[in-house]
């Protein structure tokens, strides 16, 4: 994002506009996220961060503007379709499959022999076992290996969020969009989350995090975009953005470091 030319763009939003009834949620928002970057999207409440996420991930279609993922124009496509284009998104309130265990939550993700009606009566044992092994590995990666059989409803909020990310790691995702991942999470698990994001980014994942918890996100990311009233008003490295008077004016948040 910003002036530095950091290589090919994983995500590009150009002039996105969206209004809901009388309310203008997005007013020509521009965002450019290079590949392999860990970035933050911050801004005061009502700035349009979640709407921007919704537009990028296909939960709503923008009224104007374009969205490109890895060069491909995905404007107006639906949530599932954009997910298949390699985009993974978590939600403000953690979402998951509450009738299953943590491991089962992961196992259900990839396509597998036996996952359609007609093949469900056939032989899916070996394929399922392979999926299980993969799921166990991912579970370990997100640090939840002790909770494989824990029912989803018994997990803490932080664990649910880690699991949500884990689900996306079970498939082909190159762009991860996290919506307030530390909300409701205890500090020790926040640290765990931060480490995980850093590792993923080192391996080439592009990550964009919406956060109010500046203490968590500022030390973690290499670039920050600030939104206010439906537009991105400033982008750049965390240190510069924090000092910017326009940002401080728009955003009366106190930075807790």
């Amino acid at each position: 994002m910003g002036a530095l030319n950091e290589g090919p763009l994983q995500l590009e939003v150009a002039g996105a506009g969206k209004r809901f009834g009388g309310v203008i949620a997005l007013d020509g928002a521009d965002l450019r996220l290079p590949r392999g970057v860990l970035g933050a999207l911050i801004g005061p409440n009502g700035a349009g961060k979640s709407t921007l996420f919704d537009v990028v991930t296909g939960v709503t279609a923008p009224d104007s503007g374009r969205v490109r993922v890895a060069g491909e124009d995905v404007t107006g496509r639906g949530l599932a379709q954009i997910a298949l284009a390699g985009v993974g998104r978590t939600f403000q309130a953690p979402r998951g499959f509450h009738s299953m265990s943590a491991l089962a939550n992961l196992m259900v993700v990839p396509s597998c022999r036996g996952d359609r009606l007609f093949t469900s009566l056939g032989r899916w044992g070996p394929a399922r076992r392979r999926v299980r092994e993969r799921a166990e590995a991912v579970l370990a990666k997100v640090g939840l290996e002790e909770h494989a059989e824990t029912p989803y409803e018994k997990l803490s909020v932080g664990q649910m969020r880690l699991l949500e990310i884990g689900r996306h790691l079970m498939r082909d995702v190159s762009l991860l969009l996290l919506d307030e991942p530390t909300s409701g999470v205890v500090p020790s698990q926040q640290a765990q989350l931060g480490r995980l994001l850093g590792e993923l980014c080192d391996r080439g994942m592009t990550i964009l995090v919406v956060e109010h918890n500046l203490g968590f996100v500022m030390p973690l990311v290499s670039t920050v975009a600030v939104m206010d009233r439906g537009r991105v008003i400033r982008t750049g490295p965390p240190a510069e953005v924090q000092e910017d008077p326009a940002v401080i004016a728009a955003y009366l948040g106190v930075v807790e470091v």
């Binding site: 296909g58 939960v59 709503t60 639906g78 949530l79 599932a80």
Partner: protein, 284 residues
């Protein structure tokens, strides 16, 4: 056409109580038609079998059904209010079975009519209409006006609208949500009881018609869009007129099917109904 308005008036009264509950308690209480049937039979029992004057019998029925609705609302639905609209919908099936079972056991199969229905045709400004029919239209007008006044002018109305939009917020502001809910049930029950009286005024009653009635009520509600009480007025009149007019072209047996087919079309093409409410799933 005139009969369409009468028909529509009845539908309005029948559906208003249902729509009220769907908006404030947030589920579809398909037992509403059983309440209406109950109102009709209580009126019958008091006026024909016990010899009470029709007006008194009707008024008592309204009160009785209001109380019945309150009991059902408090005993069955209130404890389950957090379980979600699907569970409440299924629970209302249970209530249908209980109420219908009681009615069917108490009432011998057959067709019943009220005595003292005024069926002589009067000439009102060129339109030929019976006294009973006029009463039905008047009742509808009175119900709509009364409900409107309650919702907009009284403290209850404000509290009701507050808890309808956000229960925890309203509770936080000191609204006694439980009491509001009870009052809603009383009003919905009263409207159902009144609809039952009107049902008897319109024609003969029997125990099997509650099924048909709930289909009509659902049809009106879907056309009106589930959030809106004023849409019910428009939808009720529309459906009343359409079903009466269509009997000129289509044999009577098809009438419910026609109403329902219209409803299916509305549900599929424009589920917001006439006045707009969230029906479609979130886009995935």
């Amino acid at each position: 056409m005139v009969f369409g308005v009468v028909s529509g008036s009845y539908l309005i009264v029948a559906t208003l109580g249902f729509a009220l509950v769907s908006r404030t308690e947030k589920f579809l209480n398909i037992a509403h038609a059983e309440l209406i049937l109950g109102g009709a039979f209580v009126t019958y029992w008091l006026s024909v079998l016990e010899g009470w004057p029709l007006a008194l019998a009707g008024a008592t029925a309204v009160v009785a059904i209001a109380l019945l609705a309150l009991v059902v609302g408090r005993v069955v639905y209130w404890p389950m209010r957090r379980s979600g609209s699907v569970v409440l919908l299924i629970a209302s099936v249970g209530v249908v079975y209980i109420l219908h079972g009681v009615l069917e056991t108490a009432v011998k199969p057959g067709v019943y009519t009220f005595d003292g229905r005024d069926t002589t045709l009067l000439d009102v400004g060129g339109i030929r209409i019976s006294g009973s029919d006029l009463l039905i239209v008047a009742a509808a007008v009175a119900s709509v006006v009364a409900l409107h006044l309650v919702l907009t002018r009284t403290g209850l109305g404000l509290r009701l609208r507050a808890s309808a939009s956000d229960e925890s917020l309203a509770a936080g502001r000191g609204v006694d949500v439980r009491r509001v809910s009870s009052q809603v049930w009383l009003m919905a029950g009263a409207l159902a009881g009144l609809a039952g009286v009107l049902l008897g005024l319109r024609g003969a009653i029997s125990t099997d018609i509650s099924f048909h009635e709930i289909l009509l009520i659902l049809s009106v509600s879907i056309l009106a869009g589930f959030g809106s009480l004023y849409g019910v007025v428009a939808a009720g009149l529309l459906l009343g007129i359409v079903t009466e007019v269509s009997t000129l072209v289509i044999p009577a047996g098809y009438r419910t099917a026609v109403a329902f087919a219209m409803v299916i079309l509305v549900l599929l093409l424009r589920p917001e109904g006439i006045s707009g409410a969230m029906v479609r799933k979130q886009r995935a």
